[in-house]
Symmetry: C2
DNA sequence: ATTAACTTTCAGTAATTTCAGAAACTAAAT
DNA sequence: ATTTAGTTTCTGAAATTACTGAAAGTTAAT
């Protein structure tokens, strides 16, 4: 089964974007391919569709599983493993976001925490520590906020997103109401 | 002027994280270094502090300027260029965020827009197009939302962030109020 | 218009990352 | 216990990316 031209273009685009999204070209392609393909695919089908080696697909699968972006399925009476996206687009985006937070923010947060426990021992370290404190604040805020968003129900989240510029008004509103109490 | 051990550790950490944040090791180090150093630095000071070549620093500066993360300063009677972070930590994070959106989201958004204009011509393309539509929605929402956040005043933003789990309640609240009208 | 102080560019090299294909492994069916 | 259908791991080659150091470029002072 060969890809239609339009679908092929999309898959290749996912490849180009792959490294920007946190993985590599092949893995980007695999991810795009599985998303637009209705039926689950075997590793060999993936390798053929993308003209890459079977070994490479195997490594890619492992990686995509570590991101929790794909799941394995079995068809009764068939020994092959079939792969499909794990969840809908929104779920997948969430996973990517979470995983990237883990890789891009958490390590720094923990370094900064450690550092801020130590007393600075001179002028230069005092300034540095002040700056690190700022970064720490920022990252904590982002982290807290993102976990709050995860906690909202899909409907709430949807309302929030749709709110758009209204968000400013709502904040002010909330402010007025609670100031009274 | 050589870095204290603690500061050195931080700068090296920024290097390790560099590629995850969208640039490379050296540029990560440069960025970290400039952030924790109180006084603006010359290119040579940067090269010495990090033990990298002068040419490399020059390229790094260009890159950091393209991200709008640093600015040049001059000291009267001194021909050297002095570099310092452009803005506070929040500003910088914003710039990184914006720039990454440009690289990681915008190209895909435009590809998807184009694709969705075409009529799908068979079963397979219909499904693919449905999925692409989902991705398109998601990315549009993220884009819109992030530009809304940029539009808020710092105080509003701060309130919003502090709101934390309260956000759910506020949404419901807003809902009730406007349903009456 | 020369020199001196500084910056940028760039060609070649070094380091890293990605990949194919072969070999090793696993487990179901016979 | 062999065969067969399948998956994973690993090595070295290829491609990409990052870096150095030297050469070229710029600008201000003399």
């Amino acid at each position: 089964m060969t890809l239609s031209e339009k679908n092929f273009t999309f898959v290749m685009h996912c490849g180009e974007m792959g490294s920007r999204w946190g993985f590599n070209r092949t893995i980007g392609q695999m991810c795009g391919l599985l998303i637009i393909t209705k039926n689950p695919m075997t590793a060999n089908e993936i390798a053929d569709s993308l003209s890459i080696s079977r070994g490479n697909v195997s490594m890619g699968i492992k990686e995509l599983q570590s991101w929790q972006l794909i799941k394995v399925q079995h068809i009764p009476g068939d020994r092959k493993e079939y792969y499909a996206p794990a969840g809908d687009i929104w779920d997948m985006a969430n996973r990517v976001f979470e995983e990237r937070k883990k890789r891009e923010i958490d390590p720094t947060l923990s370094l900064l925490r450690d550092n801020l426990l130590d007393e600075a021992s001179n002028e230069e370290e005092i300034y540095a520590q002040k700056q690190m404190g700022e970064i720490h604040n920022l990252l904590e805020t982002v982290t807290k906020w993102s976990s709050e968003l995860q906690r909202l129900t899909p409907e709430q989240l949807n309302k929030l997103m749709k709110l758009g510029s209204g968000i400013g008004k709502v904040i002010d509103l909330k402010d007025k109401i609670f100031k009274k109490e």
